[in-house]
């Protein structure tokens, strides 16, 4: 501010100095030069300079007869300039000065007279004109000007004062009524009235003006421009003509609704870019008033929502935007919009959602609408948290304040988003999207499954013809091994939509699950019946599943059933022929998928099977996998994808990628660059790190720039996950730095996706996509000791602690002591059980005192390995301890302690 003032004063001084200098220069020039300057300034419209030069010329003795007309004109020019600025007092004073230099009438030009008499009354003007024509001939310019004045002021009686020679009075008869009509806006009738006015009459421009206005109202803008172009500059209403010629939208009185919007919006943007927020606010307000005169606050709110988008590309920053909101909106509205935009930005998902919901009544005063809006906001938040892989455990929230509006009652983060969805369903049970979202949310715990089930049962009532809740409920029942319930609910689905392919597919899966259970229980006759039924019903989507079970059945069946009499009994030697027959009618994609599923399904499940059967299965896979090279990239991605959740009860695992990659090492070569990232996600999900790294190395050199940075990022992440690298955030930052701004979003999304596989500081860095934060310390010894020192042989050499029972203040930073402590506890099962909390506390103390808190998983796992190496009973001790922990204690465990007890966080 001080700087600005200083600059302004400096500029002022410089301007003054320049002026002084030029004044001195003028003083030094000769008389003819002075007169010449005066003329030039006058022509250039520089009235003040012209006046100074000409006055100096008079001082230097120039003849007044020559100079006065010029000086008169210069003063008139200055007068008009001042009037344009609205400085009428100053203009009047200049007018008086002009009068002193007014030449005699015989030397006065008509234009000078018009300029001089512009502000005079008609009466004075007429009298001046009468004198003028006493000395000069008539002037059409002056008469046209006068005609215009009559039209404007309608003082028709003054016509009598005009000199006899002026024909205005003669032509005026039709104009009397036309003038009234022009003032009332009836341009069509006025034009008709002016028809008798001849083209050479001084009133002819009035007729042209009426014609232009008639064209305007007929939306004939080119006709209007033609008429306007014929109106002379001297006509009194020329300033209207001039504006119409330029842009009719400049005359606001001619329009209702927003005009010049593009110009106004451009101005808003310009103001915003140049940080002129007061002007931007003014312009936004005027746009709002134009587009929505009855509810301009609502329009402003809407416009500001759009302006918020300019914070995305930093046209304005958040702080400036919030100031703009406060400037334009009343307090409650400004708080609402602030909460709303923060919700859109979603930096603190639960807090932002809660805050916005607290203001929802301001945005939707109608209670019914507020209910629906609240449900939509909750669903939007849940969808975003779920889709963008936010780590729910780390989402902060003021549960006391926002818990009720968010619907969160549990203290288990796994249940938050399910509870939020249920709240949305409760608020707006007719919104199908809520149930669909609910069915797709992760449900790992019994409680979340129960909550999802509750929601879907509610949907059964609200959507009585829809099979969707039945199908989803059947999935949950299968997950819970509640087969009878699953079958019953599927029967309900069949009743609701017997021809729906989703229902049929699920029915097929249900029959296959039943067949699979029969195979397990060696009730092969029941299995064959179900498989036959499934085969009859199956469509394209479920065909590989049916064929897989057919093959499994045939391999399992050893000729006990009459059903297969006369057919080849599988046994070890005939597996290939069974498979060949079964998959013959399938496409190559389906064949590979079927055999991969078969391998996934049978591995480890049938210990009684001859090993030859498994090698035959491998042979079959390799045989059919030869056609992989003919599959499209998208097909290969589909092959590697985990199986649908719906088939989960049918196989031991959904993750089929390992089975395929183990047997077809070159499969990834056939994947396009565009599809490689989803494939890498699949591989990282199932911890197939080596094939993922190999594939990245293979294609990183030749990949396009966009894919290359993603590959590099995945490489760095996987190298951290596989312990190739210790937490080195610089490696991530390096990749981030070289990524163009436009490609950062895919990198950010990848970072969030991969965060779930990491832990400790790496996890936080990946979640926040921020790799320049300092790596948190690994404990009090951090200054002196690297976490790697923990693996040094002598690190844990301690001295004199032989008391295994821990005091409150005591810490176990020696693994030997800690293990011995556990062993002592374990020897006495009663103590072990009763002292569980003490033991857990000891474990947590041990983690703290060794500086392992916050350390990466691999480091903790490495330490566990070392401890186990030295204490072979350790695994057993930890598993005993783990088995004794109840749900409450499990929840309270730190992630590091979980790794100790369960091998993973």
């Amino acid at each position: 501010m001080i700087h600005e003032k200083f600059m302004a004063s400096k500029k002022k001084k410089q301007k003054k100095a320049r002026k002084k200098k030029s004044h001195l220069n003028i003083k030094n020039v000769s008389l003819p030069q002075l007169i010449n300057h005066g003329k030039q300034f006058l022509e250039a419209g520089r009235a003040r300079d012209a006046i100074s030069s000409l006055k100096l010329a008079i001082k230097k003795g120039a003849p007044t007869d020559d100079i006065n007309p010029m000086l008169f004109r210069a003063y008139l020019l200055r007068e008009s300039q001042l009037r344009q600025k609205g400085m009428n007092v100053e203009a009047n004073s200049i007018h008086c000065q002009a009068a002193t230099f007014m030449p005699a009438y015989d030397k006065l030009s008509d234009m000078d007279l018009i300029a001089f008499m512009k502000c005079a009354s008609i009466e004075d003007f007429i009298s001046a004109y009468n004198r003028y024509i006493g000395e000069n001939s008539r002037s059409s310019a002056i008469e046209q000007y006068l005609a215009g004045q009559f039209l404007i002021h309608r003082q028709w009686d003054m016509l009598d004062n005009l000199d006899e020679r002026v024909p205005l009075k003669k032509d005026a008869a039709p104009v009397f009524r036309a003038a009234e009509l022009m003032h009332s806006g009836d341009w069509e009738t006025a034009l008709a009235c002016l028809k008798p006015v001849s083209r050479i009459s001084s009133f002819a421009p009035a007729r042209l003006f009426c014609l232009a206005m008639v064209c305007f109202y007929n939306e004939d803008d080119s006709g209007m421009q033609r008429a306007l172009s014929m109106i002379p500059d001297e006509f009194s209403i020329y300033r209207v003509v001039k504006k119409l010629k330029k842009n009719s939208a400049d005359l606001a009185c001619l329009w209702e609704g927003p005009v010049n919007t593009e110009k106004r919006v451009a101005e808003v943007l310009e103001h915003l870019k140049k940080k002129r927020f007061k002007d931007a606010a003014g312009q936004l307000r005027s746009i709002a008033e134009l587009i929505c005169p009855d509810d301009s606050d609502r329009a402003i709110f809407h416009l500001l929502e759009l302006v918020w988008r300019f914070t995305w590309d930093n046209t304005i920053d958040d702080y400036e935007y919030f100031r703009l909101i406060r400037r334009l909106l009343p307090e409650n509205q400004s708080e609402l919009l602030t909460a709303k935009t923060e919700f859109f930005e979603f930096e603190q998902p639960l807090i932002n959602t809660g805050q916005y919901l607290m203001h929802i009544d301001t945005e939707f005063p109608d209670r019914e609408h507020a209910r629906i809006a609240q449900a939509l906001i909750l669903l939007h938040a849940v969808e975003k948290i779920h889709k963008e892989n936010f780590f729910v455990q780390s989402l902060g929230c003021d549960f006391e304040l926002h818990g009720p509006v968010l619907g969160i009652t549990s203290d288990n983060p796994d249940e938050f988003i399910v509870e939020m969805t249920l709240k949305a369903i409760q608020l707006d049970p007719e919104n199908r999207r809520g149930y669909e979202l609910l069915a797709n949310l992760p449900r790992y715990t019994r409680q979340t499954k129960k909550l999802v089930e509750e929601g879907l049962i509610k949907m059964l009532d609200y959507f009585p013809d829809d099979p969707f809740p039945c199908l989803e409920l059947s999935t949950i029942y299968y997950e819970k091994n509640a087969f009878r319930k699953a079958e019953n609910i599927l029967k309900e689905a069949m009743k609701r939509a017997p021809h729906d392919s989703r229902v049929i597919d699920r029915h097929v899966i249900s029959l296959l699950i039943s067949a699979d259970n029969s195979i397990k229980r060696k009730k092969l006759h029941l299995a064959s019946r179900d498989i036959e039924k499934a085969d009859a019903l199956s469509g394209k989507a479920t065909l590989p599943l049916v064929v897989e079970k057919q093959i499994l059945f045939q391999i399992t069946e050893q000729g006990q059933l009459s059903l297969f009499d006369g057919k080849v009994v599988a046994g070890a030697g005939n597996v290939l022929s069974v498979i060949d027959r079964a998959v013959a009618h399938l496409s190559p994609f389906e064949q590979i998928s079927t055999i991969a599923m078969l391998i996934l399904d049978t591995t480890g499940r049938f210990p009684e099977w001859d090993k030859k059967i498994f090698s035959e299965l491998d042979r079959a896979f390799r045989h059919y996998a030869k056609s992989i090279k003919n599959l499209s990239s998208a097909h290969i991605v589909s092959l590697l994808k985990p199986l649908s959740k719906k088939v989960r009860p049918l196989t031991r695992s959904r993750h089929i990628a390992g089975v395929i990659l183990e047997r077809s090492k070159n499969i990834l070569k056939h994947v396009d660059d565009a599809d490689i990232i989803p494939v890498l996600d699949i591989l990282v999900d199932v911890e197939l790190f080596k094939p993922a790294l190999d594939e990245i190395k293979r294609r990183i050199k030749n990949a396009g720039e966009r894919v290359k940075v993603l590959l590099e990022f995945y490489q760095v992440v996987i190298r951290h996950l596989t312990e190739e690298l210790f937490t080195d955030l610089k490696a991530f930052q390096k990749v981030k730095d070289k990524t163009p701004e436009s490609d950062l979003e895919p990198l950010r999304a990848a970072s969030r996706r991969l965060a779930k596989h990491a832990s400790g500081p790496l996890k936080s860095a990946l979640e926040s996509f921020d790799f320049i934060m300092p790596v948190p310390s690994f404990g009090p010894m951090d200054d002196m000791i690297s976490p790697f020192d923990l693996f040094e042989d002598d690190f844990f050499m301690d001295d004199d602690d032989d008391d295994f029972f821990m005091d409150d203040d005591e810490e176990y930073d020696d693994p030997g002591d800690f293990v011995e402590f556990l062993e002592v506890m374990k020897r006495n099962p009663g103590v072990f059980k009763s002292q569980l909390d003490t033991i857990i506390k000891a474990l947590e103390h041990f983690i703290d005192s060794t500086g392992l808190r916050g350390a990466p998983d691999f480091l903790i796992k490495g330490l566990i390995k070392t401890i186990r190496k030295e204490n072979p009973n350790m695994a057993d001790t930890f598993s005993t301890l783990a088995s004794l922990l109840d749900k409450k204690r499990l929840k309270a465990l730190s992630s590091e302690a979980r790794i100790f007890l369960f091998g993973k966080a």
Partner: protein
């Protein structure tokens, strides 16, 4: 959201029936054969405000669905077509 009301020439917060009535009037006037662009514009505007739920969704998430904020600002102005207003000579002179 506001644009939809302006395109259909409706006041804000009118009832569902009125929205539908106006929509039917307009699509009779601007059939897909006569003016496909206008028809399209009218139909999509109607879709955005035809039910209370659609209106609530539009009001909540309208700003998020905008891909070009500058164009969206312009389109609000354009959506409300200015009407030529009768003005007399005196008004013109005062405005000029």
């Amino acid at each position: 959201m506001l644009s939809s009301y302006f395109i259909l020439g409706l006041d804000l917060d009118v009832a569902d029936e009125e929205i539908r009535k106006r929509y039917l009037e307009l699509i009779k006037q601007y059939t897909p054969e006569k003016d496909p662009n206008r028809f399209q514009e009218i139909t999509s505007a109607y879709e955005q405000i035809k039910t209370p739920r659609a209106r609530i969704r539009g009001k909540l998430f309208g700003a998020l669905s905008v891909s070009d904020a500058e164009e969206a600002l312009l389109s609000i102005g354009r959506a409300r077509t200015p009407v030529r207003r009768r003005a007399g000579l005196k008004e013109l002179l005062e405005d000029a």
